[in-house]
C-alpha cells in the first residue's frame, strides 16, 4: 500500500510541477542557474571518472584478450563500445544520481523544513513548479553534453593507457576505435541518459519536497533520493536496452 501511496503522490507531484510558470523571465533565470549548478558543475567529476575508467577498461580488455588469434585493435573497439553503450550513459548517471540527487533532495528538503516552501506558497507561487521544473529541464538539457564529454574522455583515457602503460600500441588503439562504428549507439546512449536525468531529478525533488521534521530527516531524504534514483536508473536501463536494442 505504501508503494501505491508514493507512486500516486509522485504522479500528483509531477502534475503540479509541469504547470505554467508564473513569470517567464524569472523562470529563465532559474533555468540557467540550474544549468550551472546541476550540469556545468558536474563536468569535472564526469571527466575524472571517465578518464580513469576508460584507461582501466582498456587495461582489463588487454588482460582478458590474450589469444594471438584476436587482433589488438579489438581491445580498443570493445573499450569504445563499452563506453558508448553502457558507461557514458548508465554508469555516469549512477555517479550523477549521487551528486545531483543528493544536492536536489537536500536543497528542497532544507527549504521545506525551514518553511521557505510555505513562504512561496503564501505568496501565491506554485512552489513545486517554481523550484523543480527548472531543475528537471536544466538537467535533461545538459546531460547529453555530459554523456558526449564522457564518451570522448573515456576513449581518450584508454588511449593514454596505451601511450603510458604500453598496453597495446597507440596505432592499434586508434585503428580499433574507428572500426565498425555504429552511430546509433550514441543515439541510444543519449536517449537513455535523458530518461535517467528525468528520473534522478524528479525522484530526488519528490523526496525533498515531502520531507517533514528537521535536519535528520533531510539527511534521510537525501539518502533515499540517491538509493531510489540508482534503483530506478538500473531498472530503466534494462527496460530501455530491451526496447531500443532488441
Amino acid at each position: 500500500m505504501n508503494v501505491f501511496f508514493h507512486v500516486g503522490r509522485y504522479v500528483a507531484f509531477l502534475v503540479k510541477v509541469f504547470s505554467r510558470p508564473e513569470k517567464h523571465t524569472i523562470w529563465i533565470r532559474q533555468f540557467f542557474k540550474e544549468v550551472q549548478k546541476l550540469g556545468l558543475s558536474s563536468t569535472g567529476i564526469i571527466i575524472l571518472v571517465s578518464l580513469f575508467i576508460g584507461a582501466a577498461i582498456t587495461i582489463q580488455m588487454a588482460y582478458n584478450i590474450t589469444s594471438p588469434l584476436v587482433p589488438d585493435y579489438v581491445i580498443s573497439l570493445t573499450t569504445r563500445d563499452t563506453m558508448l553503450l553502457e558507461f557514458s550513459s548508465t554508469i555516469i548517471s549512477l555517479v550523477l544520481a549521487g551528486k545531483v540527487g543528493s544536492n536536489v533532495a537536500s536543497e528542497i528538503g532544507s527549504m521545506r523544513v525551514n518553511e521557505q516552501i510555505d513562504a512561496l506558497e503564501i505568496m501565491g507561487i506554485n512552489s513545486s513548479s517554481f523550484l523543480v521544473l527548472p531543475k528537471i529541464l536544466a538537467f535533461v538539457f545538459f546531460i547529453p553534453f555530459l554523456v558526449i564529454i564522457s564518451m570522448f574522455v573515456g576513449i581518450g583515457g584508454g588511449w593514454l593507457s596505451t601511450v603510458f602503460m604500453n598496453v597495446i600500441t597507440p596505432q592499434d588503439y586508434i585503428e580499433g576505435i574507428q572500426l565498425a562504428f555504429i552511430p546509433y549507439y550514441v543515439t541510444y546512449s543519449i536517449i537513455k541518459s535523458l530518461v535517467f536525468a528525468f528520473l534522478i531529478v524528479t525522484i530526488s525533488a519528490y523526496q525533498g519536497y515531502y520531507v517533514s521534521g528537521g535536519a535528520l530527516e533531510v539527511g534521510k531524504a537525501s539518502t533515499k533520493a540517491v538509493v531510489y534514483s540508482i534503483v530506478m536508473v538500473l531498472l530503466f536501463d534494462l527496460i530501455l536496452t530491451k526496447l531500443l536494442l532488441s
Binding site: 508564473e22 532544507s110 510555505d118 503564501i122 505568496m123 501565491g124
Partner: protein, 248 residues
C-alpha cells in the same frame, strides 16, 4: 478584517481546531495566544491556506477563502505577508534579492523602481547597508526584520506573524514587537500574531484570542485579560510564581 466562523480541523482522527470563532480587525494588532500544542499555528496556517479546513468559514473582507477558486485564492495570497518563526528567508539569495523576490514575481516595475521599494522596506525595518549580505550573515533579530521587509514589500492588506519573538533576547523582541505595531498602524494592515510571549501581548496587542485545547476560549483586550476570572486563561497567564506575585 478577517472573520473566522466555526472552523474545525482534524488531524489523524484528532480534533485540533474545534468550532473556532474569531474576528481580526483592520489596523490593529490581533494576537492569538495559547499553550504550545493548543492549535495556534494550525489556525494561522489555516488562515493563510497552508492547511485546508474541514468545516467552517474564513472571510477576508467578506471573501470566503476556502470556497474561492484557486485563481481567486492566489489573488488573496498576493495581499498576504507572513513572518515565519525562523524568518524563512531564501538562503541562496542576498537580502536585497529576498526582499525583491515578491516584486519580481508580481509586478512589472523596472529594476530601478524595485530597488527603490526594496530600500524603502529595509529602511522601514531599520536595516541599512546589508543589501548584499546573505541571511546566514545576519543575527536572528536582523533576519526577522529582513523577513518583515519582504512581507511588506507588496503592501499587504494582511500580515501574519508566527511566534515572531521566538529565539530572540528580550530587547530584540521588543524591537520586533514595536516594528510590527508601527507597520500595522502606518499601513492599516490586519495583523494576526501568534505568540505565547506575555511581554508582547501586554505591550503591543489590541485584541486577544485565547486558544485552549483547540477552541477559541476567550477573547478581549489586554486590560480585560488581566482582570478576567476565566480559570483556564488565568492558569495560562499566571502559571509562573513571579506572575502570580505581580497579580497579587
Amino acid at each position: 478584517m478577517i472573520e473566522v466562523r466555526q472552523v474545525n480541523k482534524i488531524f489523524n482522527d484528532r480534533p485540533v481546531l474545534i468550532d473556532v470563532c474569531a474576528t481580526f480587525e483592520s489596523g490593529k494588532v490581533n494576537m492569538v495566544i495559547g499553550k504550545s500544542g493548543s492549535g495556534k499555528t494550525v489556525l494561522l496556517k489555516s488562515l493563510v491556506g497552508l492547511h485546508s479546513i474541514d468545516t467552517g468559514q474564513i472571510f477576508f473582507d467578506g471573501r470566503d477563502f476556502h470556497t474561492l477558486k484557486q485563481k481567486e485564492r492566489i489573488e488573496i495570497r498576493k495581499e498576504v505577508g507572513m513572518l515565519f518563526q525562523g524568518g524563512a528567508l531564501f538562503d541562496s539569495s542576498t537580502i536585497e534579492e529576498n526582499v525583491m523576490f515578491p516584486l519580481d514575481m508580481f509586478t512589472n516595475d523596472t529594476q530601478q523602481e524595485k530597488l527603490k521599494r526594496v530600500n524603502f522596506c529595509l529602511e522601514r525595518v531599520n536595516l541599512h547597508g546589508i543589501n548584499d549580505l546573505y541571511p546566514s550573515e545576519l543575527s536572528g533579530g536582523m533576519q526577522k526584520r529582513a523577513a518583515i521587509a519582504r512581507a511588506i514589500a507588496l503592501n499587504p492588506k494582511y500580515l501574519f506573524c508566527d511566534e515572531p519573538n521566538s529565539g530572540l533576547d528580550p530587547q530584540t523582541a521588543i524591537v520586533i514587537d514595536n516594528l510590527i505595531k508601527e507597520i500595522t498602524y502606518d499601513f492599516g494592515i490586519t495583523t494576526v500574531v501568534n505568540t505565547h510571549d506575555l511581554n508582547s501581548v501586554l505591550s503591543v496587542s489590541d485584541t486577544i484570542v485565547f486558544i485552549y485545547e483547540g477552541r477559541s476560549w476567550w477573547n478581549g483586550t489586554k486590560e480585560r485579560m488581566l482582570t478576567t476570572d476565566n480559570q483556564e486563561l488565568n492558569e495560562f497567564l499566571f502559571s509562573s510564581e513571579i506572575m502570580r506575585r505581580i497579580k497579587t
